[in-house]
Amino acid sequence: MASAVARVPRAPGRRAGAPPRRLPYLLIAPAGLLMLGFIAYPVISVFYYSLQDYNVTKPWRNGFAGFDNFIRIFTDDPQFWTTLGFSARWVVVQVSLQLALGLVLALLVNQTFVGRGIARAMVFSPWAVSGVLTTTIWMLLYNPSTGVSRYLADAGIGSYGTSVLSDTGTVFWAAVVAELWRGVPFFAILILADLQSIPKELYEAASVDGAGRARQFFHITLPHLRDAIVLATLLRGVWEFNNVDLLYTLTGGGPAGVTTTLPLYVANTGIEGHDFGYASALTTVAFVILLFCSILYLRLSKFGGDSK
């Protein structure tokens, strides 16, 4: 539009008297201050308390503890290892299943067909549902006397009185299905957004060259989606590791503690057990593990791309 006008070298801020040198700092100040006060400070206090004995119910023992808390975690706490193992299993199962289903779903609703708009809206809708609401819904479905299993039993499938949430053998998959229900749309939305940025000419050229749909998928679609998939799986993995809403309300970590994740164990130790020093040490360890796994994952996924 104003192509005739020469490039403006200076922003008006300088003219108006507010030195632009200071402007960016003013702009990030609200966010920066809030994050300093309510993220950085709590994080530092967690690191600090991880080196302390700090228990409200045993104040006479409070004080500097050195690395005692950490030594206890690694040498004298079987529950740390079982909850860490469960967390790892939970994250791996959730993220891989959510990715697989989300990818298929995104490819499906990326096609042109009658009713696509409404199908997208319905398929994505559980994205907006909270952990507690997911629990509410699946409690109704899993309820042995009024849930789906009763109607299935009426139809001759399964047996009456099946309570999947109180059986240590089935509770894991019952929780997995509930979390999948609301987790798949996250991947589907992200992948669909990225699918739409693939230039259609690529497919055109490929089909002219006689490439079938499978080859188009593996040679055009998947390589294009790689960055989005790496980012989405990483974000989701961290989120699934940290998120406690669903398991806290659906199983409460039970039965017999078989669905207790590491963050749930930390929350129990810190809030119900009042052992804040030890909970802080556990938090620190969880944080380091998470950071290490994330860096490793980014390295590995990038490495895979370079070798191609």
Binding site: L23, P24, I28, A31, M35, G37, I189, E204, T249
Partner: protein, 308 residues
């Protein structure tokens, strides 16, 4: 067109021959089927509709189940909510104070939306348009904060809010929600702003606009889809989030919907009708928001999400 007609016209049965002409391979695309559309639309319909129908069953049956319990009389085992009753809703809204919870959740959701969007706009603009010394450090802090589990920050945050005398005030939850929404929102918004060419702003400066006015008049309208995505994220997350409200708000008239739902889950799992009605109340606002934003969600993501 005329050439084609003339060609056909030379054959004996002219009009019907046109109608019954052997269909080209991509016949599902009506009208002028360009080659690229054909490449996409070659998928047989059943290969789209069958898996989609199966997945929709998985998505929608749980929602239906909740509606069923909420709308049919207590004790009924019918698979259709008939006769319709609103007794569960009345009970939950009045006796279980979901009316109060709803109001609290709304306040938290809207306040978080406004604060997050406003603060993230300022921060995102600074990151997108300026070079300044702590920029990289700030970016790194935003990214790292993604790995910090809110659940593990509960105890230190509780102590902070206790010192600020904000326990049992909605302000504590609003601040906590905003703080944990900010990093991703700033990253997203700075991506959106980077996509708006600086030259547009410069043109407005030439016309005598201040930086702020130029931003409002030129950049802001172009950010609409992105802002809608970020704002609705903030609303939906704070509406859904459970732990902060559970920990910081212990007085019953300050609690939010997820906490109320959790009380129903824990206290009387017998009253499934009330639980389901509470679930429907929790779901309605997010479903409405979602219905409005779902198209923008995808475009908003593809515009700036992965670029960061």
């Amino acid at each position: 067109m005329t050439a084609a007609l003339a060609e056909k016209g030379s054959s004996p049965a002219s009009p019907s021959a046109v109608a019954h002409a052997p269909a080209p391979p991509g016949r599902r695309v009506r009208g002028r089927a360009s080659r690229r559309e054909r490449a996409f639309d070659d998928v047989p319909r059943w290969q789209i509709y069958l898996p989609l129908a199966l997945y929709l069953l998985f998505t929608l049956v749980p929602f239906y189940w909740m509606l069923l319990f909420a709308l049919r009389p207590a004790g009924s085992t019918a698979l259709l909510p008939w006769p319709l009753t609103f007794e569960h809703f009345e009970k939950v809204w009045n006796e279980r104070s979901f009316g109060m919870f709803f109001q609290n959740s709304m306040i938290v959701g809207v306040a978080t939306l406004v604060m997050t969007t406003g603060i993230a706009l300022a921060g995102g603009y600074a990151l997108a348009r300026f070079e300044f010394r702590i920029k990289n450090g700030f970016m790194l802090a935003l990214l790292c904060s993604q790995f910090i589990p809110g659940a593990l920050m509960l105890v230190p945050l509780f102590e902070i809010f206790k010192n600020l005398q904000m326990i049992n005030s909605l302000g504590s939850v609003i601040i906590a929600e905003t703080v944990f929404q900010l990093p991703l929102s700033i990253i997203l918004i700075s991506g959106f702003i980077k996509n708006v060419p600086v030259s547009l702003e410069e043109a407005a400066w030439v016309d005598g606009c201040s930086r702020f006015r130029a931003f409002c008049a030129v950049v802001l309208p172009l950010l609409r889809p992105g802002l809608i995505a970020v704002g609705s994220f903030a609303f939906v997350h704070s509406w859904n989030h459970f732990l902060f409200a559970l920990m910081f708000l212990s007085e019953q008239d300050k609690q939010t919907i997820p906490v109320g739902l959790n009380t129903l889950i824990g206290a009387d799992s017998v009253d499934l009708g009330a639980l389901a009605a509470g679930g429907v109340i929790a779901a309605v606002p997010v479903v409405i928001v979602f219905a409005f934003i779902q198209k923008w969600l995808i475009t908003g993501f593809s515009a700036g999400a992965v670029k960061g």
